[in-house]
Structures are given as structure tokens and as C-alpha cells.
């Protein structure tokens, strides 16, 4: 109880500092710390799946992405600023009151889909409820989410401009040696998370994020990593969505409906989709972060 209170105060203070400070580097570093604290909150709210994803994405990849872009952006930006007036503050207060009322009223009418999920869990092919929801009960949502990721990646590719500042130089080979040691371990952890996903927290998203972090690490150490011109890589980027929809169509022919699997084969199909989706998510996230990094053009002219 006291712990919750301290954690909440800490988070609110960090969020305030993050939006209030005038130093952008400080804002980013506070944002990364905020991601770590929020991962703690998710574990406290009994959502370890989400905590895994937040620890990998919010506390890891987001920091690298923001910093890589901060160096390329000019100091002053043409952000539209509003002058603070009593009108703005009163609107803000009214919105706060309305949201507070909504939060209070939603608390008094508890609704849960959990009984429904648990009733159908045995026929989903996995034993972990969150994975069952993601890849069986609401599989179409997850497939479309992968498509959104792909779309954002394509849009970002077309927007990007090629003037980069180089990495800060380093002396000695400590970074390279350590990354060479860490890389197999990181890939092993990604596979482990994927494997755990069917019975306990873990799964394609978390595994993909950890894979992306592994490739990011290789890039930061300037070791030979992925070659973005390779055809197999492009297939890998598209693979998640494609396999997802093919398996979905297969369900249509077998009479289980689009995106439905027969109950006895569900486990195998889910494992296949999850492995390809994890690879795809990892590649997409890695390339989204790497596009904004120095030296990216060297390998993809």
C-alpha cells in the first residue's frame, strides 16, 4: 500500500519533469526512467506480459530511438505554443473533472471477460490466457496490428532524410568484445520468451522486442549485423502478416471461419504464427530504430 503510494508519486513527478523541462536530453532520459518505473507498476497490477514488453520497448528501444533523432534535430523547433490563459486552464480543469467522474463511475460497474476466456481456454491450444486472447480469440486484431507496424515502417522509410552525424568515437575493443559475448545470450533469451509464451507470460511481442535490442546492440558496436539488401530479410519483414493471413484463410477452408483454427491443431498453428511473428516484429522494430542511426546508408545505398 505504502509502496504503491511511493511508486505513484515517483511516476507523477517524473512525468511532470519530463514534460516541463527545457533540456531535451533530460526529458529523454527522464522518459526512459519513467518507462522503467511503469514496468514496475505493470508487475504490481498483475500484468507481467505487459511488463516484459514495457521493459524491452519503453525502457530500452525508445531511448535509443529518441536519442538518435535528437542529435539530428535542430535546437529550436517550430512547435505551436499557446499562451497560458484562464480559458485554457479552466478547460483543462473541466476535462480533468470529467475524466475523474468517468474513472469513478467506471469503477463501480465491474465488467470482466475473464470467465468467458477461461471457459474457452482448453480449446485454444495454449494454457496462458493472454496468449490465447492474442493469437486465437482475437487473432484478427493481432494480425492487423502487425499490418499497422508494417505500414508505419514503410511510411517511415519514405520520410527519412539522409544527413547523419557519426557515432561518438571510442577507444579500445571493450564494447565490441562484450557485445560479441552478449549477443548469443540475448538471442537465447528471446527464444526462451517465445517458448514460455504458451504457458506463462512471454510471447511474440516480447521476444521480438528483445531480438530488436540484440540487433541494435550489434549496430551500436559497429559490428557486421543485418544486410538490409538481402531478399531473405525483406521476406522476414513481411512474413508475420503473410503467414498470419494464410493460416487464417486455411481456417476458412477447413470450416472454422476466417482466423479460426480447428481445436486439435490450434497449438501447432499458434506456435508457427508466433515464431514468424516474433522474427517479423524484431526485424521491423530494429529497422525502425536503425533507420535514424548514423552510418545506416553505408549498407543500404
Amino acid at each position: 500500500m505504502v509502496l504503491d503510494g511511493i511508486l505513484v508519486l515517483l511516476i507523477l513527478a517524473m512525468a511532470w519533469r519530463c514534460v516541463r523541462t527545457t533540456d531535451l536530453f533530460e526529458a529523454i532520459i527522464v522518459f526512459v526512467g519513467l518507462g522503467m518505473m511503469i514496468a514496475l507498476v505493470w508487475t504490481r497490477l498483475q500484468a507481467p506480459d505487459v511488463a516484459l514488453a514495457e521493459a524491452a520497448i519503453g525502457a530500452g528501444l525508445a531511448g535509443a530511438l529518441l536519442l538518435a533523432n535528437l542529435r539530428q534535430l535542430p535546437e529550436d523547433s517550430s512547435a505551436v505554443r499557446w499562451r497560458s490563459s484562464w480559458l485554457w486552464w479552466s478547460l483543462w480543469g473541466i476535462l480533468g473533472l470529467a475524466l475523474g467522474f468517468a474513472v469513478v463511475s467506471i469503477q463501480t460497474t465491474p465488467v470482466s471477460l475473464m470467465p468467458l476466456v477461461q471457459a474457452h481456454l482448453p480449446e485454444s491450444g495454449v494454457t496462458h490466457p493472454v496468449t490465447a486472447v492474442l493469437l486465437n480469440f482475437r487473432a484478427l486484431d493481432t494480425a492487423l496490428e502487425l499490418a499497422v507496424l508494417l505500414w508505419a515502417w514503410m511510411a517511415q522509410r519514405h520520410l527519412f532524410e539522409g544527413n547523419f552525424k557519426a557515432f561518438h568515437s571510442l577507444q579500445g575493443g571493450v564494447l565490441k568484445t562484450t557485445v560479441k559475448m552478449l549477443f548469443p545470450l540475448v538471442v537465447l533469451i528471446a527464444v526462451y520468451l517465445l517458448w514460455r509464451g504458451s504457458s506463462s507470460p512471454g510471447g511474440a511481442f516480447q521476444s521480438g522486442a528483445v531480438l530488436a535490442a540484440a540487433w541494435l546492440m550489434l549496430w551500436l558496436a559497429q559490428l557486421p549485423g543485418l544486410n538490409w539488401q538481402r531478399l531473405s530479410l525483406k521476406v522476414g519483414l513481411l512474413g508475420g502478416v503473410m503467414v498470419f493471413f494464410w493460416v487464417g484463410l486455411l481456417g476458412l477452408f477447413q470450416g472454422a471461419g476466417f482466423m479460426g483454427y480447428p481445436a486439435d491443431q490450434a497449438g501447432g498453428w499458434i506456435l508457427l504464427i508466433e515464431s514468424v511473428a516474433a522474427l517479423s516484429i524484431g526485424l521491423l522494430l530494429a529497422s525502425m530504430v536503425l533507420v535514424s542511426m548514423p552510418n545506416f546508408q553505408e549498407q543500404s545505398p
Binding site: A13, M36, A51, A55, L67, V210, A213
Partner: protein, 89 residues
């Protein structure tokens, strides 16, 4: 035993508050980077204690990923820090 773990977690959270003070009033980017590194390590320790106290083994996986990604963040911050350092004599 539960009480002991909770007290330890509370003390560690207070350490995070101290780290946050350093994060906000640090003198240069290296200080802030150290503070965020400390935050990550304390977060790992809290997660491990919580996994033991609440018998929730999946929290150890979260700790594993957090420890790993703290390293990636640290490397990224050193290699991509802003060019102009706030050079205070």
C-alpha cells in the same frame, strides 16, 4: 518474511527517489546517465525481491529483460549523446 521483503522494497524505492533527485539536478549528461543506470539496477533488485515475496516467478523474466535492456540503453546513450555538452567549468 513477507514484511521483511516489503520493507526492503520500500527502502529501495526511496533509493530510487534519491536517484531521481540526481537525475533532475545532475550537472552534465554523464551524471544523468549514471542516475538512470542506478534506477535500472534498483528496478532489477526490486523485481527479484517481489518475485520471491509474492511467489510470482514470471517477475524474474521481467528482471532479466530489464537488466539486459539497461545495458543497451546505457551503450546507446554513450554513443549517441548530444554533441554540445553543457560545459560548466
Amino acid at each position: 518474511m513477507m514484511l521483511f521483503y516489503q520493507v526492503m522494497m520500500g527502502v529501495l524505492l526511496l533509493c530510487i527517489v534519491l536517484g531521481l533527485v540526481q537525475l533532475v539536478w545532475g550537472h552534465n549528461s554523464a551524471d544523468r546517465l549514471m542516475a538512470v543506470q542506478l534506477l535500472g539496477t534498483i528496478g532489477v533488485a526490486i523485481l527479484l525481491l517481489a518475485a520471491q515475496a509474492y511467489e510470482a516467478p514470471s517477475l524474474r523474466d521481467v528482471a532479466l529483460v530489464l537488466a539486459l535492456l539497461a545495458a543497451v540503453t546505457g551503450v546507446a546513450f554513450v554513443r549517441l549523446r548530444p554533441d554540445k555538452e553543457d560545459r560548466k567549468p
